[in-house]
Protein backbone atom coordinates (compact mmCIF):
# COMPACT_ATOMS: atom_id res chain seq x y z
CA UNK A 1 0.00 0.00 0.00
CA UNK A 2 1.48 3.29 -1.12
CA UNK A 3 -0.01 5.24 1.76
CA UNK A 4 2.33 3.51 4.13
CA UNK A 5 5.46 4.99 2.54
CA UNK A 6 7.28 7.70 4.48
CA UNK A 7 7.22 10.74 2.23
CA UNK A 8 9.07 12.94 4.70
CA UNK A 9 11.86 11.51 6.77
CA UNK A 10 13.76 13.58 9.31
CA UNK A 11 16.84 12.06 10.91
CA UNK A 12 18.72 13.51 13.90
CA UNK A 13 18.06 17.06 12.75
CA UNK A 14 19.98 19.75 14.61
CA UNK A 15 19.97 23.48 14.13
CA UNK A 16 21.89 26.17 16.00
CA UNK A 17 21.83 29.93 15.62
CA UNK A 18 25.28 30.86 16.88
CA UNK A 19 25.52 29.51 20.43
CA UNK A 20 21.77 28.86 20.65
CA UNK A 21 20.90 25.27 19.81
CA UNK A 22 17.26 25.38 18.77
CA UNK A 23 16.77 21.84 17.46
CA UNK A 24 18.64 19.08 19.29
CA UNK A 25 18.24 15.92 17.31
CA UNK A 26 14.76 15.58 15.85
CA UNK A 27 13.77 12.31 14.19
CA UNK A 28 10.39 11.42 12.70
CA UNK A 29 8.67 10.12 9.58
CA UNK A 30 5.52 11.33 7.92
CA UNK A 31 3.48 8.84 5.92
CA UNK A 32 2.08 9.90 2.59
CA UNK A 33 -1.45 11.22 2.96
CA UNK A 34 -1.21 11.73 6.70
CA UNK A 35 -1.41 14.85 8.84
CA UNK A 36 1.22 15.53 11.47
CA UNK A 37 0.59 18.28 14.00
CA UNK A 38 3.49 19.96 15.75
CA UNK A 39 2.75 21.74 19.00
CA UNK A 40 4.98 23.45 21.50
CA UNK A 41 5.47 26.70 23.37
CA UNK A 42 6.53 29.86 21.56
CA UNK A 43 10.26 29.69 20.88
CA UNK A 44 10.41 25.91 21.10
CA UNK A 45 11.65 25.66 17.51
CA UNK A 46 8.49 24.77 15.55
CA UNK A 47 9.06 27.32 12.80
CA UNK A 48 12.74 26.46 12.63
CA UNK A 49 11.83 22.81 12.15
CA UNK A 50 9.49 23.54 9.23
CA UNK A 51 12.00 25.94 7.72
CA UNK A 52 14.74 23.32 7.87
CA UNK A 53 12.51 20.95 5.92
CA UNK A 54 12.40 23.20 2.86
CA UNK A 55 15.89 24.54 3.49
CA UNK A 56 14.89 28.11 4.28
CA UNK A 57 17.18 27.37 7.20
CA UNK A 58 20.21 25.23 6.63
CA UNK A 59 20.31 22.43 9.22
CA UNK A 60 23.48 22.32 11.27
CA UNK A 61 23.49 18.55 11.03
CA UNK A 62 21.13 15.69 10.38
CA UNK A 63 19.17 14.79 7.31
CA UNK A 64 15.84 15.47 5.70
CA UNK A 65 14.49 13.29 2.90
CA UNK A 66 11.53 14.00 0.68
CA UNK A 67 10.23 10.94 -1.09
CA UNK A 68 13.58 9.24 -0.49
CA UNK A 69 15.67 12.10 -1.88
CA UNK A 70 17.93 14.09 0.45
CA UNK A 71 17.17 17.81 0.73
CA UNK A 72 20.03 20.29 0.56
CA UNK A 73 22.89 17.85 0.15
CA UNK A 74 23.93 15.01 -2.07
CA UNK A 75 26.16 12.05 -1.60
CA UNK A 76 29.30 12.29 -3.72
CA UNK A 77 30.82 9.31 -5.49
CA UNK A 78 33.30 8.90 -2.61
CA UNK A 79 30.44 8.79 -0.13
CA UNK A 80 30.97 12.26 1.30
CA UNK A 81 28.17 14.74 1.78
CA UNK A 82 28.30 17.86 -0.35
CA UNK A 83 25.93 20.82 -0.41
CA UNK A 84 23.46 20.58 -3.24
CA UNK A 85 23.28 23.10 -6.08
CA UNK A 86 20.94 26.08 -5.80
CA UNK A 87 18.94 24.75 -8.75
CA UNK A 88 18.37 21.40 -7.06
CA UNK A 89 17.42 23.03 -3.80
CA UNK A 90 14.86 25.17 -5.64
CA UNK A 91 13.50 22.07 -7.34
CA UNK A 92 13.02 20.35 -3.98
CA UNK A 93 11.38 23.42 -2.49
CA UNK A 94 8.84 23.45 -5.29
CA UNK A 95 7.65 20.06 -4.03
CA UNK A 96 6.99 21.39 -0.52
CA UNK A 97 4.24 23.98 -0.23
CA UNK A 98 4.60 26.40 2.66
CA UNK A 99 1.97 28.61 4.29
CA UNK A 100 3.29 31.33 6.58
CA UNK A 101 1.80 32.97 9.63
CA UNK A 102 1.88 36.40 7.95
CA UNK A 103 0.56 35.14 4.55
CA UNK A 104 3.45 36.81 2.68
CA UNK A 105 1.50 37.54 -0.47
CA UNK A 106 3.24 39.79 -2.99
CA UNK A 107 1.45 43.13 -2.77
CA UNK A 108 2.28 44.28 -6.32
CA UNK A 109 0.48 41.35 -7.91
CA UNK A 110 -3.21 40.55 -8.05
CA UNK A 111 -4.59 37.47 -6.38
CA UNK A 112 -4.47 35.47 -9.60
CA UNK A 113 -0.99 36.74 -10.45
CA UNK A 114 0.22 35.63 -7.02
CA UNK A 115 -1.13 32.15 -7.67
CA UNK A 116 0.16 31.68 -11.22
CA UNK A 117 3.61 33.25 -10.78
CA UNK A 118 5.46 30.13 -9.68
CA UNK A 119 3.66 27.74 -12.06
CA UNK A 120 4.70 30.02 -14.94
CA UNK A 121 8.24 30.83 -13.78
CA UNK A 122 9.22 27.58 -12.11
CA UNK A 123 7.15 24.94 -13.89
CA UNK A 124 7.22 26.89 -17.15
CA UNK A 125 3.52 26.41 -17.77
CA UNK A 126 1.96 28.39 -20.60
CA UNK A 127 0.07 31.37 -19.24
CA UNK A 128 -3.32 30.05 -20.26
CA UNK A 129 -2.67 26.71 -18.64
CA UNK A 130 -1.44 28.43 -15.48
CA UNK A 131 -4.53 30.64 -15.37
CA UNK A 132 -6.80 27.60 -15.62
CA UNK A 133 -4.82 25.92 -12.87
CA UNK A 134 -4.81 29.06 -10.73
CA UNK A 135 -8.57 29.47 -11.05
CA UNK A 136 -9.08 25.85 -10.08
CA UNK A 137 -7.23 26.40 -6.81
CA UNK A 138 -8.81 29.77 -6.17
CA UNK A 139 -12.23 28.20 -6.48
CA UNK A 140 -11.06 25.51 -4.10
CA UNK A 141 -10.43 28.18 -1.44
CA UNK A 142 -13.63 29.99 -2.46
CA UNK A 143 -11.97 33.11 -3.81
CA UNK A 144 -12.54 32.91 -7.52
CA UNK A 145 -14.47 36.20 -7.39
CA UNK A 146 -11.39 38.00 -5.98
CA UNK A 147 -8.90 36.99 -8.66
CA UNK A 148 -8.34 40.57 -9.84
CA UNK A 149 -8.06 42.17 -6.41
CA UNK A 150 -4.78 43.18 -4.86
CA UNK A 151 -3.95 41.46 -1.57
CA UNK A 152 -4.19 44.72 0.42
CA UNK A 153 -7.91 44.83 -0.31
CA UNK A 154 -8.59 41.42 1.19
CA UNK A 155 -9.25 40.41 4.78
CA UNK A 156 -6.59 38.40 6.61
CA UNK A 157 -8.59 35.22 6.20
CA UNK A 158 -8.94 35.80 2.48
CA UNK A 159 -5.24 36.57 2.14
CA UNK A 160 -4.32 33.36 3.90
CA UNK A 161 -6.62 31.39 1.64
CA UNK A 162 -4.91 32.95 -1.39
CA UNK A 163 -1.56 31.96 0.11
CA UNK A 164 -2.82 28.39 0.44
CA UNK A 165 -4.02 28.42 -3.19
CA UNK A 166 -0.63 29.80 -4.24
CA UNK A 167 1.18 26.93 -2.53
CA UNK A 168 -1.28 24.33 -3.84
CA UNK A 169 -0.92 25.58 -7.42
CA UNK A 170 2.58 24.10 -7.49
CA UNK A 171 0.93 20.75 -6.71
CA UNK A 172 3.47 19.95 -4.00
CA UNK A 173 3.88 16.54 -2.44
CA UNK A 174 3.67 17.96 1.08
CA UNK A 175 2.12 21.08 2.60
CA UNK A 176 3.74 22.85 5.56
CA UNK A 177 1.56 25.18 7.64
CA UNK A 178 3.32 27.46 10.11
CA UNK A 179 0.65 28.86 12.45
CA UNK A 180 -1.56 29.67 9.50
CA UNK A 181 -4.30 31.16 11.68
CA UNK A 182 -2.28 32.84 14.44
CA UNK A 183 -2.26 36.27 12.79
CA UNK A 184 -6.01 36.25 12.17
CA UNK A 185 -8.84 37.75 14.14
CA UNK A 186 -10.76 34.93 15.85
CA UNK A 187 -13.77 35.30 13.58
CA UNK A 188 -11.58 34.72 10.51
CA UNK A 189 -9.78 31.56 11.62
CA UNK A 190 -12.76 29.36 10.78
CA UNK A 191 -12.63 29.93 7.02
CA UNK A 192 -8.92 29.04 6.90
CA UNK A 193 -9.30 25.96 9.10
CA UNK A 194 -12.19 24.90 6.87
CA UNK A 195 -9.88 24.90 3.84
CA UNK A 196 -7.20 22.98 5.74
CA UNK A 197 -9.74 20.46 6.93
CA UNK A 198 -10.88 19.85 3.36
CA UNK A 199 -7.27 19.35 2.24
CA UNK A 200 -6.68 16.83 5.01
CA UNK A 201 -9.81 14.94 3.99
CA UNK A 202 -8.60 14.71 0.39
CA UNK A 203 -5.47 12.98 1.61
CA UNK A 204 -2.99 15.87 1.32
CA UNK A 205 0.17 15.17 3.30
CA UNK A 206 0.38 17.99 5.83
CA UNK A 207 2.72 19.14 8.58
CA UNK A 208 0.79 21.60 10.69
CA UNK A 209 2.17 23.88 13.37
CA UNK A 210 -0.84 25.24 15.21
CA UNK A 211 -2.30 26.36 18.50
CA UNK A 212 -5.80 25.32 17.40
CA UNK A 213 -5.93 22.23 19.55
CA UNK A 214 -9.50 21.24 18.66
CA UNK A 215 -8.68 21.37 14.98
CA UNK A 216 -5.41 19.51 15.47
CA UNK A 217 -7.08 16.76 17.39
CA UNK A 218 -9.76 16.36 14.77
CA UNK A 219 -7.65 16.26 11.59
CA UNK A 220 -4.26 14.89 12.55
CA UNK A 221 -3.09 11.31 12.45
CA UNK A 222 -0.26 12.04 14.81
CA UNK A 223 0.93 14.87 17.02
CA UNK A 224 4.33 15.75 18.40
CA UNK A 225 5.13 18.14 21.21
CA UNK A 226 8.42 20.02 20.94
CA UNK A 227 10.23 21.14 24.05
CA UNK A 228 13.76 22.43 24.33
CA UNK A 229 14.50 21.43 20.75
CA UNK A 230 13.49 17.82 21.24
CA UNK A 231 10.39 15.74 20.72
CA UNK A 232 8.98 15.40 24.20
CA UNK A 233 5.74 13.67 23.32
CA UNK A 234 4.80 11.76 20.21
CA UNK A 235 1.72 9.75 19.41
CA UNK A 236 -1.86 9.62 18.14
CA UNK A 237 -3.70 12.88 18.85
CA UNK A 238 -6.17 11.26 21.20
CA UNK A 239 -3.29 10.29 23.47
CA UNK A 240 -1.12 13.40 23.09
CA UNK A 241 -4.00 15.77 23.72
CA UNK A 242 -5.87 13.80 26.38
CA UNK A 243 -3.34 11.70 28.19
CA UNK A 244 0.18 12.95 27.57
CA UNK A 245 2.87 11.12 29.46
CA UNK A 246 5.11 14.17 29.66
CA UNK A 247 4.42 16.55 32.50
CA UNK A 248 5.58 19.51 30.38
CA UNK A 249 3.19 18.61 27.60
CA UNK A 250 0.38 18.43 30.14
CA UNK A 251 1.29 21.85 31.49
CA UNK A 252 1.53 23.31 28.00
CA UNK A 253 -1.87 21.94 27.02
CA UNK A 254 -3.58 23.18 30.13
CA UNK A 255 -2.14 26.63 29.45
CA UNK A 256 -3.30 26.71 25.81
CA UNK A 257 -6.70 25.22 26.52
CA UNK A 258 -7.58 27.72 29.24
Amino acid sequence: MKRMAAIVRVVELRKSFGPLEVLRGITFDVREGSVLTIIGASGSGKSTLLRCLNYLEQPTSGEVYLDGKPIGFRIEADGRRAPDTAANISRMRAELGMVFQQFNLWPHMTVLENVIEAPIRVKRLARKEAVDLGRRFLSKVNLLDKENEYPARLSGGQQQRVAIARALAMQPKVMLFDEATSALDPELTGEVLEVMRALAKEGTTMLVVTHEMGFAREVSDRAIFLHNGQIEEDGPPARVFSAPTSERCRQFLSKVLH
Binding site: N54, L56, A86, A87, S90, R91, M92, R93, A94, E95, L96, G97, M98, F100, Q102, N104, L105, W106, P107, H108, T110, E117, A118, R121, V122, E149, Y150, P151, A152, R153, A163, R166, A167, M170
Partner: protein, 233 residues
Protein backbone atom coordinates in the same frame (compact mmCIF):
# COMPACT_ATOMS: atom_id res chain seq x y z
CA UNK B 1 16.39 102.49 -15.52
CA UNK B 2 13.25 100.36 -15.48
CA UNK B 3 13.07 100.74 -19.22
CA UNK B 4 16.57 99.46 -19.73
CA UNK B 5 15.81 96.53 -17.46
CA UNK B 6 12.73 95.74 -19.50
CA UNK B 7 14.78 95.97 -22.67
CA UNK B 8 17.44 93.65 -21.39
CA UNK B 9 14.84 91.15 -20.22
CA UNK B 10 13.17 91.23 -23.61
CA UNK B 11 13.55 87.62 -24.67
CA UNK B 12 13.06 88.19 -28.41
CA UNK B 13 16.81 87.96 -28.86
CA UNK B 14 16.74 84.51 -27.25
CA UNK B 15 13.86 83.57 -29.53
CA UNK B 16 15.72 84.71 -32.65
CA UNK B 17 18.44 82.18 -32.00
CA UNK B 18 15.98 79.40 -31.20
CA UNK B 19 17.25 76.93 -33.82
CA UNK B 20 20.84 77.05 -32.59
CA UNK B 21 19.80 77.07 -28.94
CA UNK B 22 17.50 74.10 -29.45
CA UNK B 23 20.37 72.13 -30.93
CA UNK B 24 22.37 73.01 -27.82
CA UNK B 25 19.52 71.93 -25.57
CA UNK B 26 19.33 68.59 -27.37
CA UNK B 27 22.95 67.99 -26.37
CA UNK B 28 21.92 68.44 -22.74
CA UNK B 29 19.12 65.97 -23.27
CA UNK B 30 21.37 63.37 -24.92
CA UNK B 31 23.97 63.65 -22.21
CA UNK B 32 21.25 63.45 -19.61
CA UNK B 33 19.80 60.30 -21.19
CA UNK B 34 23.22 58.70 -21.62
CA UNK B 35 24.29 59.61 -18.11
CA UNK B 36 21.00 58.49 -16.59
CA UNK B 37 21.15 55.16 -18.39
CA UNK B 38 24.73 54.54 -17.30
CA UNK B 39 23.97 55.69 -13.76
CA UNK B 40 20.99 53.35 -13.45
CA UNK B 41 22.87 50.32 -14.72
CA UNK B 42 25.86 50.99 -12.46
CA UNK B 43 23.64 51.94 -9.52
CA UNK B 44 21.72 48.70 -9.76
CA UNK B 45 24.88 46.62 -9.92
CA UNK B 46 26.53 48.54 -7.07
CA UNK B 47 23.34 48.63 -4.99
CA UNK B 48 23.02 44.84 -5.23
CA UNK B 49 26.75 44.36 -4.60
CA UNK B 50 26.47 46.43 -1.43
CA UNK B 51 24.05 43.83 -0.09
CA UNK B 52 26.30 40.92 -0.97
CA UNK B 53 27.07 38.26 1.60
CA UNK B 54 30.80 38.58 0.77
CA UNK B 55 32.46 41.33 2.71
CA UNK B 56 35.06 42.06 0.00
CA UNK B 57 32.28 42.78 -2.48
CA UNK B 58 30.51 44.91 0.11
CA UNK B 59 33.60 46.94 0.96
CA UNK B 60 34.58 47.53 -2.67
CA UNK B 61 31.11 48.54 -3.78
CA UNK B 62 30.59 50.79 -0.77
CA UNK B 63 33.96 52.41 -1.45
CA UNK B 64 32.97 53.03 -5.05
CA UNK B 65 29.68 54.59 -4.02
CA UNK B 66 31.28 56.82 -1.39
CA UNK B 67 34.05 57.93 -3.75
CA UNK B 68 31.75 59.03 -6.53
CA UNK B 69 29.03 60.34 -4.28
CA UNK B 70 31.41 62.65 -2.48
CA UNK B 71 33.38 63.97 -5.43
CA UNK B 72 31.71 67.07 -6.92
CA UNK B 73 30.37 66.39 -10.42
CA UNK B 74 32.33 69.32 -11.75
CA UNK B 75 35.67 68.02 -10.48
CA UNK B 76 34.87 64.54 -11.72
CA UNK B 77 34.02 65.90 -15.15
CA UNK B 78 37.34 67.69 -15.46
CA UNK B 79 39.21 64.71 -14.09
CA UNK B 80 37.62 62.25 -16.52
CA UNK B 81 38.18 64.55 -19.49
CA UNK B 82 41.73 65.71 -18.79
CA UNK B 83 43.34 63.21 -16.41
CA UNK B 84 41.85 59.83 -17.22
CA UNK B 85 43.05 59.92 -20.87
CA UNK B 86 46.58 60.60 -19.65
CA UNK B 87 46.44 57.54 -17.42
CA UNK B 88 45.05 55.42 -20.23
CA UNK B 89 47.68 56.75 -22.66
CA UNK B 90 50.47 55.75 -20.27
CA UNK B 91 48.96 52.36 -19.62
CA UNK B 92 48.26 51.57 -23.25
CA UNK B 93 51.35 53.38 -24.55
CA UNK B 94 49.29 55.07 -27.26
CA UNK B 95 47.52 58.37 -27.54
CA UNK B 96 44.11 58.16 -26.00
CA UNK B 97 41.35 60.74 -25.87
CA UNK B 98 37.75 60.95 -24.84
CA UNK B 99 35.32 62.91 -26.92
CA UNK B 100 33.76 65.57 -24.70
CA UNK B 101 30.48 63.68 -24.98
CA UNK B 102 31.90 60.38 -23.83
CA UNK B 103 33.68 62.11 -20.95
CA UNK B 104 30.49 63.92 -19.93
CA UNK B 105 28.36 60.79 -19.98
CA UNK B 106 30.99 58.76 -18.17
CA UNK B 107 31.59 61.37 -15.46
CA UNK B 108 27.94 62.15 -14.81
CA UNK B 109 26.93 58.49 -15.03
CA UNK B 110 29.58 57.47 -12.50
CA UNK B 111 28.84 60.38 -10.22
CA UNK B 112 25.10 59.74 -10.05
CA UNK B 113 25.49 55.98 -9.85
CA UNK B 114 27.06 56.65 -6.46
CA UNK B 115 23.98 58.51 -5.22
CA UNK B 116 21.55 56.15 -6.86
CA UNK B 117 23.18 52.97 -5.57
CA UNK B 118 22.17 54.14 -2.10
CA UNK B 119 18.59 54.55 -3.32
CA UNK B 120 18.68 51.11 -4.92
CA UNK B 121 20.06 49.58 -1.74
CA UNK B 122 17.37 51.22 0.39
CA UNK B 123 14.69 50.20 -2.12
CA UNK B 124 15.75 46.57 -2.04
CA UNK B 125 15.95 46.59 1.75
CA UNK B 126 12.43 48.01 1.94
CA UNK B 127 11.00 44.80 0.47
CA UNK B 128 10.30 42.49 3.42
CA UNK B 129 12.46 39.40 3.64
CA UNK B 130 9.25 37.36 3.90
CA UNK B 131 8.33 38.12 0.29
CA UNK B 132 11.59 36.55 -0.78
CA UNK B 133 11.07 33.55 1.47
CA UNK B 134 7.60 32.94 0.07
CA UNK B 135 9.10 32.96 -3.43
CA UNK B 136 11.96 30.68 -2.36
CA UNK B 137 9.50 28.23 -0.84
CA UNK B 138 7.80 27.98 -4.24
CA UNK B 139 11.07 27.07 -5.92
CA UNK B 140 11.87 30.43 -7.53
CA UNK B 141 15.55 31.13 -8.20
CA UNK B 142 17.46 34.08 -6.77
CA UNK B 143 17.53 35.95 -10.06
CA UNK B 144 13.84 35.32 -10.69
CA UNK B 145 13.00 36.62 -7.23
CA UNK B 146 15.06 39.76 -7.84
CA UNK B 147 13.37 40.41 -11.16
CA UNK B 148 9.79 39.48 -10.35
CA UNK B 149 9.35 40.09 -6.62
CA UNK B 150 11.97 42.51 -5.32
CA UNK B 151 12.73 44.86 -8.22
CA UNK B 152 9.12 45.81 -9.06
CA UNK B 153 8.43 46.74 -5.44
CA UNK B 154 11.83 48.33 -4.86
CA UNK B 155 11.57 50.49 -7.98
CA UNK B 156 8.21 51.88 -6.95
CA UNK B 157 9.61 52.81 -3.58
CA UNK B 158 12.71 54.33 -5.15
CA UNK B 159 10.77 56.55 -7.55
CA UNK B 160 10.42 59.78 -5.54
CA UNK B 161 14.08 59.74 -4.52
CA UNK B 162 15.27 58.71 -7.98
CA UNK B 163 13.20 61.54 -9.43
CA UNK B 164 15.12 64.06 -7.34
CA UNK B 165 18.39 62.58 -8.49
CA UNK B 166 17.37 62.72 -12.14
CA UNK B 167 16.55 66.39 -11.69
CA UNK B 168 20.00 67.01 -10.19
CA UNK B 169 21.58 65.05 -13.01
CA UNK B 170 19.80 67.17 -15.57
CA UNK B 171 20.97 70.32 -13.82
CA UNK B 172 24.50 68.94 -13.74
CA UNK B 173 24.47 68.55 -17.53
CA UNK B 174 24.91 72.33 -17.68
CA UNK B 175 28.52 71.89 -16.50
CA UNK B 176 29.48 70.09 -19.68
CA UNK B 177 30.07 73.34 -21.59
CA UNK B 178 33.24 73.55 -19.50
CA UNK B 179 34.75 70.69 -21.48
CA UNK B 180 33.46 72.15 -24.76
CA UNK B 181 30.33 70.10 -25.25
CA UNK B 182 28.19 72.41 -27.35
CA UNK B 183 25.16 72.39 -25.09
CA UNK B 184 22.67 75.16 -24.44
CA UNK B 185 24.97 77.04 -22.04
CA UNK B 186 27.83 76.79 -24.51
CA UNK B 187 25.67 78.21 -27.31
CA UNK B 188 24.42 80.96 -25.04
CA UNK B 189 27.93 82.06 -24.17
CA UNK B 190 28.96 81.97 -27.83
CA UNK B 191 25.99 84.10 -28.85
CA UNK B 192 26.64 86.46 -25.96
CA UNK B 193 30.10 87.13 -27.31
CA UNK B 194 28.49 88.26 -30.58
CA UNK B 195 25.51 90.13 -29.29
CA UNK B 196 26.95 91.58 -26.09
CA UNK B 197 23.56 91.17 -24.44
CA UNK B 198 23.98 88.49 -21.78
CA UNK B 199 20.86 89.34 -19.84
CA UNK B 200 18.13 88.07 -22.17
CA UNK B 201 20.23 85.12 -23.25
CA UNK B 202 21.11 83.81 -19.82
CA UNK B 203 17.66 84.62 -18.48
CA UNK B 204 16.13 82.71 -21.36
CA UNK B 205 18.41 79.74 -20.69
CA UNK B 206 17.47 79.75 -17.00
CA UNK B 207 13.77 79.82 -17.85
CA UNK B 208 14.09 77.00 -20.37
CA UNK B 209 15.97 74.73 -17.96
CA UNK B 210 13.50 75.48 -15.23
CA UNK B 211 10.49 74.82 -17.45
CA UNK B 212 11.89 71.50 -18.63
CA UNK B 213 12.60 70.30 -15.13
CA UNK B 214 9.18 71.31 -13.85
CA UNK B 215 7.48 69.60 -16.79
CA UNK B 216 9.51 66.42 -16.45
CA UNK B 217 8.97 66.30 -12.71
CA UNK B 218 5.21 66.69 -13.22
CA UNK B 219 5.18 63.93 -15.78
CA UNK B 220 7.13 61.48 -13.63
CA UNK B 221 5.07 62.35 -10.58
CA UNK B 222 1.92 61.66 -12.54
CA UNK B 223 3.25 58.32 -13.75
CA UNK B 224 4.42 57.22 -10.34
CA UNK B 225 1.08 58.19 -8.77
CA UNK B 226 -0.65 56.05 -11.32
CA UNK B 227 1.66 53.11 -10.62
CA UNK B 228 1.13 53.50 -6.95
CA UNK B 229 -2.62 53.60 -7.22
CA UNK B 230 -2.56 50.16 -8.78
CA UNK B 231 -3.34 48.39 -5.54
CA UNK B 232 -0.47 49.73 -3.53
CA UNK B 233 -0.91 49.04 0.15
Amino acid sequence: MLGSLRESLDLTLFWEYRAILLRGLLENVYIFLGGAMLAMILAFAIGVARLSRRWTVRVLSTGYAELFRNTPEYVLLIWVYYVLPVIFSRLLATRFNFSPYAAAILALGASYSGFMSETVRAGILSVPREHTEAAMSLGMSKWMIMRRIIAPQAIRRMLPEALNQFVSLFKATTFVSLIAVEDLMYKVSMITVHEMRPLPLYTGAALVYCAIIVAAAQLIQHLSDRWRRRGWA
